[in-house]
């Protein structure tokens, strides 16, 4: 079964420190993966997707098929990065649908 695991419920770092939010997935094919973010009192929104290979707000994520991981990284954390982060995998069953499988989420706390 397809599954997304985010092993850390909370990650606390100081401003300026590097950040790595872990995401592991279970899927035998070539996955598409997403990172969603929810800032305080805001709605869940897409941060970045694997297929775009882009950097958003200084964050990047690399797909490692060997380790089945899609960790989110930022070299220098900012206080405004404090939020809840969710890794998501589209369900690759019959047909191409928008069913997303989310991890449990990691709260990133950036201390001044």
């Amino acid at each position: 079964a397809q599954r997304v695991t985010q092993p850390e419920k909370l990650l606390s770092v100081f401003k300026g420190a590097p950040v790595e939010l872990k995401c592991n997935y279970s899927y035998s094919g070539s996955p598409e993966l997403f990172w969603y973010v929810q800032y305080s009192r805001q709605r869940l929104q897409l941060l970045l997707r694997h297929i775009s290979r882009e950097s958003i707000k200084g964050f990047t994520a690399d797909l490692n098929k060997g380790e089945t991981s899609f960790h989110l990284k930022k070299p220098f954390a900012q206080e405004e990065d404090s939020a809840m982060y969710y890794c998501a995998l589209p369900f690759m069953g019959s047909g191409n649908t928008g069913k997303l499988i989310f991890g449990q989420g990691t709260t990133l706390q950036v201390k001044p």
Partner: protein, 114 residues
């Protein structure tokens, strides 16, 4: 554009009752997906509606049903409420059903079942 809107924002019901939650998609979007987010968990997919039909369903019992209207808005109905149905219910809209299309989420409806 207000984006995806949901109503009501909060709701309190008792066990055995029925509830209806509503969602209006972002302007121009034709697909609506519903998710349940229990406290401390990630969102779980309930179902997706496109062209007024349920296109994909997650592992939820038949007590959970939905509807999509010609204007693309959608309702989520839950019958015979259980305590475990207490959660934040999120609606997401997109242009088309493909996973490549970005899903835009609403603020959610928080349901408490007593």
């Amino acid at each position: 554009d207000a984006g995806v809107t949901q109503s009501p924002t909060h709701l309190i019901k008792t066990r055995g009752q029925q509830v209806t939650l509503r969602c209006s998609p972002k302007s121009g979007h034709d697909t609506v997906s519903w998710y349940q987010q229990a406290l401390g968990q990630g969102p779980q997919f309930i179902f997706q509606y496109y062209e007024e039909e349920e296109r994909q369903r997650g592992n939820f019992p038949d007590r959970f049903s939905g509807h999509q209207f010609p204007n693309y808005s959608s309702e989520l109905n839950v019958n015979a409420l259980l305590l475990g149905d207490s959660a934040l219910y999120l609606c997401a809209s997109s242009l088309g059903t493909a996973f490549q299309e970005t899903q835009y989420f609403g603020p959610g409806t928080r349901l408490l079942v007593l």
